[in-house]
Subunit: 336 residues, 2 copies
């Protein structure tokens, strides 16, 4: 389809071109129903207002949307908190939505945030960039990706350097004599899930460790898959002597399963978690983690949205991740 | 002020009575600016539409607001998750806001949710019921309180029986021989903060334990106040042999401080936490907690909002809380 014009939008919406123009310029002489029709048609057709966009930008709602993958994940809750507090300091209100690690729910939430007329959206995306996310981008609404990105979707982002953190984790375990390292991977539909698994594979190959594919369990960033992953890996005939989990919730699951089966962490099996959640310091033994900085991510994402709204150039940021060594990792023993 | 009429609202808003009527009946022939003026005037004056309310109810947005005290508190995150999933099963979308334990931010968020035309609001309230909360109630918007209530504000609620949980905790410690039990209290501006402190005081008096007021540390439902509370209480000349914290975040703080000063939990000092967060099972030793049911709270709150929207009678619910005994509580020793 060629680039839709204001005339195409009017035809699709069943209103006059003048009405479309008034809606797009935020003229108060428009009805709620015509606004709905026009915005729906514009979204369906991927209409991108040009001159009109400038008018749209002038009438801000001073509200941004934040779409989290999972509000129960302390890492994302920290991002949400920082975003809300940072935005509030600039008199910008924040509406949170929860995608619950579901692309369908992500679509629902994006539609909702657009209908609520937010000025911009900060999102930890999933999926392939189709669906409502494509519509949002076509509408020209400022979007910033945080933590995750989508390949081929050109959106400014704040992410962590997943490779360096996972590589440091594998090298730490290799130095402790571990040869078989189990990996509870995140969903391969997410960039973080993919990047962390690739980094694991490259790091174990580079360190000359066992590249047995049975050492990778495919999880889904939920606690239950951490439990199932630890169970599957520790049940292997040639069980790994160390486990690495690719996010905080799966780390909780791995720790639970180790505790439930009475495996001594840091002794019989070493465990490295992801994200430096408060409670990982309190677990017995305290958990070695791949740490990154959700508070800084959230603050930067708000700054990016503000720059986008101001028409300023925006550069994506990749923050460092690093290994925090604690007592959950120790010298390798024979398989657990 | 006498009950405001539609004429008063029109005068305040600077529009005609006909415009107010059209706005209140959701007539599409109204401008965004007149709607804003009318709703602002109606909110300021506490105008409660009568016949108009029925029309308003017919034009739903199928969106509810959830205003949390602190998104980083796993207890509230679980409520938020359940609310969103329960609502979604009825094709109702959810917008979350975070009050960050601040009455001022609660006001901001309530104003925002009203302006976003949500059908109803689920809130863990704080403050005295003045400010935006009063305006929301005067507008006739369905509101359900969850976890907390406000004295004298007649809103259906889903809460926990704080008294039974705290009493069970004190009786458990008394049976283990503890005479001086320290209590890290929540903010007295919240009903849960007040009820749990009252329950503690009554339970220690009933059990004949030491009622020394120095055993109560006034916290604020944040991690740092749990750290400060444990420090202040364990630094007493006659330090308590057991500590009870009145919410999950302060429990994390108490555990952190005990760990940082090398006090052996469950041996040198017994600790009882609040809320049965996953990670409290994984801490060393696993934490005895006062447990209640955030998932059931969230699901019930959505059911109540739906009943209110349907004009059905709604009865407040008080859910049980109970003690989950784990290894963080043990026989009393001389003061830690």
């Amino acid at each position: 389809m060629s680039t839709p014009t204001i005339r195409d939008v009017a035809a699709r919406a069943g209103v006059s071109v003048a009405t479309v123009s008034r809606v797009l310029s935020e003229d108060p002489r428009t009805s709620a129903s015509s606004r709905e029709k026009v915005f729906a048609a514009a979204a369906e057709m991927g209409f991108r207002p040009n001159a009109q966009a400038r008018s749209l930008r002038r009438t801000r709602t001073d509200t941004i949307g934040v779409l989290l993958s999972d509000v129960r994940n302390p890492f994302f809750a920290e991002i949400a908190h920082t975003v809300a507090q940072t935005a509030l300091a600039s008199d910008i209100a924040t509406l949170l939505c929860n995608a619950d690690e579901s692309t369908e729910q992500q679509d629902h939430a994006l539609d909702l945030l657009v209908s609520q007329r937010v000025d911009g959206i900060i999102v930890t995306p999933q999926g392939d960039g189709s669906g409502s996310l494509r519509d949002v981008l076509k509408l020209g609404l400022p979007v910033v990706f945080v933590d995750r990105v989508i390949d081929g979707v050109d959106v400014p982002s704040v992410t962590s350097d997943n490779r360096s953190g996972v590589t440091a984790a594998v090298e730490h375990l290799a130095a402790l004599g571990h040869r078989r390292i189990g990996f509870v991977a995140g969903p391969q539909e997410t960039s973080t899930g993919r990047e962390r698994l690739v980094a694991y594979r490259e790091a174990i190959a580079a360190a000359g460790l066992d590249t047995d594919p049975a050492l990778v369990y495919q999880g889904d960033f939920r606690v239950a898959s951490g439990v199932a992953g630890a169970r599957a890996l520790l049940d292997l005939d040639d069980a790994p002597t160390a486990l690495v989990a690719a996010d905080s919730l799966m780390t909780f699951g791995v720790l639970q399963e180790c505790q439930d089966r009475g495996v001594r962490i840091g002794d019989e099996v070493s465990v490295i978690g992801y994200d430096d959640i408060d409670s990982f310091r309190l677990v017995n033994p305290p958990v070695t983690v791949i740490a990154h900085d959700p508070a800084r991510m959230g603050a930067l994402a708000v700054a990016m949205i503000r720059d986008l709204l101001a028409g300023e150039p925006v550069t994506s940021a990749v923050l460092a991740s690093n290994l925090v060594e604690r007592a959950s990792t120790g010298p390798a023993r024979r398989s657990a």
